[in-house]
């Protein structure tokens, strides 16, 4: 609704214009130098099938659970001490005492530790539900097989997080669960005994096992998960979201509207067209 007449803008209109410029300036500045805003717009406003289902939010839910684990874990690492040595004053291991300190003494420590401890299970459960949704919707089929494989790797990494994190409280449960877990790995044929000894950091579980598991738990495996999630999301954006199996659109039925006709048969991703986001990413003055 562009106004065709000309008049002097009122004071409020001027102020509004100034505010808009104030807000847009940093956004434009960033976009011009990085193209990031266009990329985010492309990610957020990309086309999805019209009949997507609530079940298809399980992946985002699992991602959120992972972010909760990452943030609470970083903060817990500020207080946790991965040391198996005994505190001479109390006779208790330092690692275990630091967990007691977090839970009982520090303000809101019980909450953040609880979030991390229960969030771990939530993360695994959401991954399984997401996996079930993908399976039942047939969303693992061509061309999304690779994304299924990456998802399975994330699931395995998540379980390794659970295994390594379980040792950190350094109590009897943690110790014996790790003994059994490592020895289970040790019964794998051929390389099992070597893997077990590598995980233990020697022949017996010791303080080195604790520091090693701590490093794996907070540096190695989370790094791998972040990389895998990035790949996973890249493929989701590249290949598009699957329609539910009952989708009439995707089955090529009832192409009533122009929108449905633009779908390639068998694919739910619309034929690309120049949109605001992609136009921004195109080379200035270049060919399409």
């Amino acid at each position: 609704m562009a106004t065709t007449y000309r008049r002097k803008p009122t004071k409020s209109e001027l102020r509004r214009q100034q505010m808009e410029e104030l807000v847009m300036f940093p956004i434009d500045w960033l976009e011009e130098r990085s193209g990031l805003i266009g990329g985010i717009r492309y990610f957020l406003f990309r086309n999805v099938p019209s009949d997507v289902n609530w079940m298809q939010t399980l992946g985002s839910a699992a991602l959120t659970a992972f972010l909760v684990q990452a943030i609470t874990g970083v903060i817990l690492a500020m207080y946790y001490v991965p040391s198996a040595t005994t505190n001479p004053k109390t006779g208790n291991p330092v690692a275990w005492e630091s967990i007691v300190h977090i839970t009982d003494d520090l303000t809101l420590g019980w909450l953040v530790r609880g979030m991390h401890r229960w969030g771990a299970s939530v993360f695994i459960i959401l991954m399984f539900l997401h996996m079930g949704r993908v399976f039942l919707f047939g969303a693992y089929k061509y061309p999304r097989e690779l994304n299924w494989i990456i998802g399975v790797l994330i699931l395995v990494m998540g379980m390794m997080e659970g295994f390594t994190g379980y040792l950190l409280p350094w109590d009897q449960t943690a110790y014996w669960a790790t003994v059994v877990g490592i020895n289970l790995n040790g019964t794998a044929p051929f390389l099992g005994p070597w893997l077990a000894q590598f995980l233990r950091g020697g022949q017996e579980i010791s303080g080195e096992t604790l520091t090693r598991f701590y490093s794996l738990h907070m540096l190695v495996i989370p790094g791998a998960i972040i990389g895998l999630i990035t790949l996973h999301l890249y493929l989701v954006i590249r290949l598009g979201v699957t329609s539910p199996p009952w989708s009439k659109d995707a089955a090529g039925m009832e192409p009533e509207e122009e929108e449905a006709a633009r779908l390639r048969p068998g694919l739910t991703r619309p034929v690309p067209r120049p949109s605001g986001a992609s136009a921004m990413q195109a080379e200035p003055g270049g060919r399409e």
């Binding site: 005994t86 003994v179 059994v180 020895n183 289970l184 051929f190 005994p193 020697g202 022949q203 010791s206």
Partner: protein, 340 residues
Amino acid sequence: MEPEQPSPDTERESLHEEPHLPPPTLWPIGFAIGIVVVLVGLIINPLLISTIGAVIAIVFGILWARDATAELRGQPLVVEPERREMTEAGEGMTAPPADQQGVALVQVPETAVTRSVFLEGATLGLGAAIGGLITLPVAGFMVLPSFLGQEQHKVDLGPIEKFPLGKWFIATFVVDPSQGEVSRRTAFVRNNGNTPNPEKPSEQVPSFTIISNRCAHLGCPVQANGPIGQKYTGTPSFKEHTLTGPAEFKSVTPAGYGCPCHGGQYDPEGNRIAGPPVRALDRYAFEVNHGRLVLLSTYSVSHVEGSGAQAKIYKYKEVGPGEHVDGPEQLFYPINPPHH
């Protein structure tokens, strides 16, 4: 769009067709190596190595000087300029005008390594070398300490007179005082009395049965099935501050051993009688040193025939819980990691 004129870029491109001056040469590197050899030789062997270095430096120096002054002395330079086909313009380039194309088109031999290919290979090769130099020691540091330099810990359990003949004790002791409580272990100890030395039958040697409490299924601590303490066994329990640290001995009359984790059951000699374990309980090797019982490393046992000093123990090298030492399944574990 109008057909583009040859842009400044294209002109610069054609400049590349002219020979580079001065040409690249290896002589200075050889000269530098010669100087290095001289300097190293001054430390190691001035007479021999420094002489060799001086010869290298002089030879390469002369060659370098000859090359550098070639133009001054009026000799033609023998440097082949690099040429590329310019008929097809790539992205961002325009083809040279038709009259220049013939000049630019010099047939490059199939085997020739062009500058760009060489630089590409050099970048990849150098990157791989740097990556390898960094990765190999770091990966070694990550993996090797778990397998090398595993120490054997001897544990002193006190004088052997403390163990009455034929009585069982649950012994708990710290294997490695520097590790503390995490290295606390439990073993079931029985004094079998003296027995003839298998090597010298005329000599009598002490015999002990010392069974590790590590379950042969997945390594949980097995418990003695039987009453504990003097009230039931008639033998007093005792504590001992030995040479390697405090140890505790509880008297027990075991009818066998049971694992709380997955229900594995063993007889008093450690033979598996029920449940998931794949072999008998491990045992400690021991020595008697100045009348004191000293535990050495553990060894694995497939099964035991008989009991006490006369028992026939089928010994194997120490392996992890859940690993078969006999039967066809042992083929799954052909090489075990080094063990003390």
